[in-house]
Every structure is written in C-alpha cells, then in structure tokens.
C-alpha cells in the first residue's frame, strides 16, 4: 500500500514536471519555427519603413529600443522606491507590526491587479496632467506595475535576515546607516531576483503600455514622445491578415524571448557572484 502511494506521487511529480516542460518547449518551438525564417539582421537593426505593416521593408528596432528604454527606467525607479520600503518594513517597523502587515496585504492586492487596470489608471492620470501617450507615461505605468512584484520579492529575502546579524553589527558600534550597508549586502541576491522578476513582468506586458506609451515607428528621442514596445509590435503585426507580417510577429516574439533570456542569465550570474559571501 505504502509502495503504491509512493509510486503515485512519483508519477504525479514527474508528470507535472513533464507537462510544464513540454509546454515551454512547445512555445519555444512555435516561436522558433515561425519566427526564425523571417528574423534577419534587417529586422533588428532598422526601424519600419513605409508599408512595413503591409509586408514591405524595415525592422522592429523602434520596438526593441522602446521596450529597453521602458524597462530600464521603470526598473531603476522602482528599485529606488522598493529597497527603502523593504528596509522600512523590516528594520524600522518591528517584524510583527500591524502597519507592516497592512502594507504587505496592500502589496499583495496590488500584485494581483491586472495590468490593463494599471494602464487605464496611468492613462487617467496622464489626461489629468494633460500629457499625451509618451515614453514617460509608459515608464510610470510600468513602474506602478512592477513595484509590488519588486517589494514582495525583496521582502521575502529580507524577512529571512536574522536579527542576530543586525545585533552583531550594532554591537560592534555600527550606526544605523552602517548596519543598513551590511544588510544590503545580504539582500543583494534577493534584489537581483526581484529585478529579474520585474523585468519579466514589465517587458512582456502589452496592456500597460497600450494607452500610456502609445505606438510609433520611430525611436523616441525625448521622454515626452510616444514609443513603440515589443509586446505591442507583436500584437499589431499578429492582427494583420498578411502572412508575412504575421511571421514577423513571431520573430518579434523571438527577439523578446531572447532579450529576457539574456537579462535572466546575466542577473543569475551577477547574483551568484554577489551572494558569494552570504551568510
């Protein structure tokens, strides 16, 4: 009987792993099969020329650069907000404080809000300030989207930091500032995971940037100009009836996947190097 139980669970474990793995492989297969043939140097080095959406010449450099701009600045801004928030939650408030519990609940709720809501919210705010769809608007909307992701994933690591570490540094005569420096060292792997997760969520999201960043064929040269982004490039091209353009959507998806992979692996690499001294 015990043996049967053991077997069933083993089967379930292997089964679920295989299911997820095969789904992932299938997605990659589709993107590669459809996207690779139309992926060329031209695709990633040029902006669309006239009639690009009818199957004529040009590339998606506008969307690649747009997405990179958007994600870079929004990750930067949300880091500047999230790290102090986590520090406050964990080290200024006591671990069991009510305020911290309420804050965590709020972040969980924000985490669960669909991205289109952030997009719509960003849009409303922009209208209020008289802004049009722009890089700036997109950055703000994505920042709102990823702050909860970032705070919660840094928080997960910060919760695990032992009180003894803080006491050990303090009892050597460290000021609060010095203590925070040591704690940040311990937090670094957590921060890099958080950045990774937020890049994943932010760069692939179409709904947030739909109203806020807009879409354009050129690379933005200022914060107030609208910008293209990869998810929207995929969306617009995929809705075209022309097959060639549809295939370009798949190659845009491939480019997006490759960007995420490169960012993931480099984040992993740095996090491993940073966590060398972790206690």
């Amino acid at each position: 009987m015990k043996k049967l139980e053991e077997r069933i669970f083993k089967f379930l474990m292997i089964g679920s792993t295989a299911l997820i793995l095969s789904l992932l492989l299938y997605i990659l297969y589709i993107i590669l099969m459809k996207g690779l043939p139309s992926l060329s140097w031209e695709m990633i080095s040029q902006i669309p020329s006239g009639g690009f959406y009818l199957g004529k010449e040009g590339g998606i450099l506008n969307a690649i650069m747009g997405s990179l701009y958007l994600i870079f600045f929004s990750v930067l801004i949300s880091l500047c907000i999230s790290v102090p928030v986590v520090m406050y939650l964990n080290f200024t408030l006591r671990r069991k404080s009510k305020l911290a519990a309420i804050a965590r609940l709020t972040f969980d709720v924000l985490f669960g809000i669909p991205s289109i809501v952030y997009g719509a919210f960003g849009f409303t705010v922009m209208i209020y300030f008289g802004l049009q769809a722009s890089l700036f608007g997109g950055i703000i909307a994505i920042t709102l989207l990823i702050i909860p992701v970032m705070i919660r994933s840094i928080d997960e690591v910060a919760i695990l930091i032992p009180n003894e570490l803080i006491e050990a540094t303090k009892s050597l005569g460290a000021t609060n500032y010095e203590t925070i420096k040591v704690v940040t060292r311990q937090l670094l792997p957590g921060i890099s995971t958080a950045v990774l997760l937020s890049i994943g969520r932010g760069i692939g999201d179409a709904a947030t940037v739909l109203f806020t960043a807009g879409y354009t064929d050129s690379i933005p040269s200022s914060l107030l100009q609208p910008t293209a982004s990869l998810p929207l490039a995929i969306f617009f091209q995929l809705s075209s009836p022309i097959e060639e353009v549809q295939n370009r959507a798949y190659s845009a998806a491939l480019v997006l996947t490759i960007i995420i992979l490169i960012l993931s692996f480099s984040a992993r690499y740095f996090s491993r190097r940073l966590s060398k001294n972790k206690i």
Partner: protein, 274 residues
C-alpha cells in the same frame, strides 16, 4: 604571505588600553535597574557591580532575565519600543541610559558573543576588521596586522591564514564563533559579553571557547550568561544567580557554589529545579 606573517609577529600587540581615566568604579555597575516589556516587569530592582578583569557568570533558570540583563549592558533593547528601562547603568562611570549617552561609543567598549555565531556577509578578513574600519582605522597593512593579532588571540590564525579572502560562512560553526570573538576583540573593548556563547557548539569547540575566556580574563572583564552550571563551575570567578527577574545572590564562585546564602540558590545549584 609568509614574509608578511613574519613581519607581523615582530609587531607587539598593544597591551595597555586607556580604560576609564578618572573613574574608580568597576567597568560595569548596575544601580536599581528595572526593565519592563509592555506591562511585564522583567528585571526587578537589580543592583550589581561586576568585578573587573575576571569572569562573572550569570546563572538561573530559563526565563529569569539573564539574557535580558546582559543585553541592557550594551543597549541592545534600544530598537524595541515596548521596552522601558528605569534605574542607572554605569559603564566606566558613564550612565549609559542618560539622555546624552552616545550608543555607538558605549557599544565599542564591549564585544558581544551571541548564542549562535553570526558572521557578517563578507570575507574572513573583512569580518575581523569590520569594527576597526567602522572606527576609522585605514590602511591595508594596519588592518592586516589587527586581523593577525585578533585571529591569533582566538587561535584561529593557523586555521584560516591561507583563506582570509574566502567567505566567513564557509567556516565551521565553532570556528565562526571564534571569528566572532576575534571580531569583537578587534574594536579593543574592555568588556566581553557572552550570551550562552557555547550552547550551539560541539563539546570540543565549546571547550576551546571556554579556555579562551579563561586566557582572556586578565585583560578583559568578561560577563557570561550560561545555563550550564558545570560551565559556570569550571570558569567563573564570580557568580550571579537570578530568579524571576531578581538578583538573588552574587558572590565569588567558591562562595555561591559551596556555601550559598540563599535557599533558592542552594536548590538551584543542587539541581532542585532548572
């Protein structure tokens, strides 16, 4: 590395530390100390003067406030808003709970050894020189010299001299505890506080730590909280017995263990309760 080590050996450690000029009291003197956590009266009217350059063990059953008392010595309760302290605690004649007392200055005077060793997330070398660096000592050679002396003092130098740059977390737990001691000694304190410093260690490591305490007592004032009576019997010069937040008895180890004045002490050390 070899040459550096040799030159370091020639440099004599600083033996004389300028401790408490113009103060004739012992390093730590507690006067009518009360501590409340919310409405609970944890430490009750404790007055105690801890003799310099000797080992004082605080013993007592669990929950009697030993650790709480120890932590008041370097103001580790500061971050807990529920804690309220009344009374006076003098470290080198300075009331550390006075309004103008500077907490980093006070903490610099004592090294704390926690129950579990907690190495900082950096290399072995950086761990030892963290304190000196905080207090403004710069220069690679000078810091290396400090590391050499302090690691030798805790008998760790030979074990780690070839891997000073590797993470401190790679050391065994006993080694880490000695590293923490070295780290504490590096800020040149007068006092060493140990909070059940050997309870997480294996017997051999804890024996090493105990021997270290004994060898350090002619230079430092050592206060240890311990819940192993045998340890207190082995190394204590003075013993403070606490029960339910009160200091029941304080005296030399010989007097407390062989001729306790108080009935509770007698019961505790004869194993009546724990």
């Amino acid at each position: 590395m070899e040459i550096l080590t040799e030159t370091l050996i020639k440099v004599q450690p600083k033996q004389t530390r300028s401790s408490k000029p113009g103060c004739d009291k012992p390093h730590i003197e507690v006067e009518k100390l009360n501590l409340y956590i919310q409405d609970n009266h944890i430490l009750k009217n404790i007055s105690l003067s801890i003799p310099d350059k000797s080992i004082t063990c605080i013993i007592g059953p669990s929950g009697c406030g030993k650790t709480t008392l120890l932590r008041t010595f370097n103001r580790l309760h500061d971050d807990n808003v529920d804690v309220r302290i009344t009374g006076k605690l003098f470290v080198d004649c300075e009331d550390i709970y006075a309004k103008d007392a500077e907490v980093t200055h006070i903490r610099k005077k004592m090294g704390l050894l926690a129950q579990r060793p907690c190495s900082l997330p950096m290399s072995i070398l950086d761990n030892v020189v963290y304190g000196p660096r905080l207090h403004g000592i710069r220069g690679k050679h000078k810091l290396h010299e400090i590391a050499y002396h302090q690691l030798s003092a805790v008998g760790l130098w030979d074990e780690v001299k070839d891997r000073l740059k590797s993470p401190a977390s790679k050391l065994s737990i006993g080694q880490q505890q000695r590293l923490c001691l070295a780290r504490g000694l590096a800020v040149e304190p007068d006092i060493i506080l140990g909070d059940e410093a050997t309870s997480a260690l294996d017997p051999i490591s804890s024996k090493t730590i105990e021997e270290l305490f004994v060898s350090l007592k002619d230079k430092y004032t050592i206060v240890l909280v311990t819940h192993t009576l045998r340890q207190a019997k082995r190394i204590a010069d003075y013993v403070a017995f606490m029960y339910m937040g009160e200091l029941i008895e304080f005296g030399t180890a010989d007097q407390v263990f062989n001729n306790p004045k108080h009935k509770l002490t007698q019961e505790y050390i004869s194993g009546g309760f724990s």
